[in-house]
């Protein structure tokens, strides 16, 4: 068995096990750490597919940014020692049936479909090519989505500040304050 096959099996086993643990763990901080493992293994898969830049973006932005943000909000809003109660078995069973049916249907469709291999030469994805096509207006350029995503990020930043800031008048009404 080749080395990259062993690596693929390792990464996919980690992804599957830890994503199941993420959605079933009853302690919320552990669920966040399992999510971190899933994201790191996914970036390993990106390295296997030879997309080094995207793997680095995945590591810094997802594993370094979003998971830290999630852990911060967990620490702000939850009691860590508290375990989740089991949601009703009826809900669990019906959700499991729905997701299993969807997964089986999709897997059957994937395995049934004949993917036609291409004869084109693979393009080497280096940093210079990514930067040039991100800022070019030609046929292969992505300057318009780049601008749109920058506006979206700005809007999200302003929205996050505004939404998280104005809790002033509601504070007096919250039952936690009134109890004191």
């Amino acid at each position: 068995m080749a080395f990259n096959q062993i690596m693929f099996i390792l990464f996919s086993a980690m992804i599957i096990v830890f994503s199941v643990l993420t959605v079933t763990s009853r302690k919320i901080l552990r669920a966040a750490i399992y999510l971190l493992f899933v994201l790191v293994s996914t970036s390993g898969l990106y390295f296997m597919l030879n997309y080094q830049f995207l793997a680095a973006v995945q590591l810094t932005l997802y594993a370094g940014g979003i998971v830290v943000l999630i852990i911060f909000s967990i620490l702000l809003t939850s009691h860590l020692s508290k375990k989740f109660e089991h949601s009703g078995w009826k809900k669990n069973i019906f959700s499991a049936i729905a997701s299993l049916a969807g997964a089986i249907l999709s897997i059957i469709t994937i395995l049934d479909y004949k993917f036609s291999a291409t004869s084109e030469v693979a393009k080497e994805v280096d940093m210079r090519l990514i930067g040039k096509s991100l800022l070019s207006v030609d046929y292969d350029g992505y300057v318009l989505p780049f601008e749109v995503i920058s506006i979206l990020l700005l809007a999200a930043m302003i929205a996050a500040i505004v939404v998280a800031k104005n809790g002033g008048p509601a504070k007096a009404q919250s039952p936690l304050i009134n109890q004191k």
Partner: protein, 105 residues
């Protein structure tokens, strides 16, 4: 590079991850864990994009750039969602979705 691994393996892996996220989205009641399930779903879609790009259209870069933009959208979505969650916690002192059932005081 990726010799010996068919494209179907990547797609089946992404499918399993996607529907695990769907299961978590349906069963969880805490807002932050629901957000984590959404992150799982977005991540599995990214794997799909990259596998299609690498195996079927290796001379183009559409899949890579699309997943780059998906990551950016996921980041901004997480930021806004966590701001909303903190605001909800201030008003209701809980982030359980079943206890948060009033739109306005």
């Amino acid at each position: 590079m990726n010799t010996g691994i068919p494209i179907q393996y990547f797609l089946v892996l992404a499918t399993i991850m996607f529907f695990t996220g769907v299961y978590g989205f349906l069963t969880r009641r805490n807002l932050i864990t629901i957000l984590m399930s959404v992150e799982l779903i977005l991540n599995s879609v990214n794997i799909n994009f990259l596998a299609f790009n690498r195996f079927l259209y290796p001379h183009k870069l559409e899949g890579m750039f699309f997943s780059l933009f998906v990551i950016a959208v996921a980041a901004s979505e997480a930021a806004v969602a966590i701001a909303i969650i903190i605001n909800i916690y201030r008003r209701f002192t809980t982030i359980n979705v079943e206890d948060v059932n009033e739109m306005k005081f």
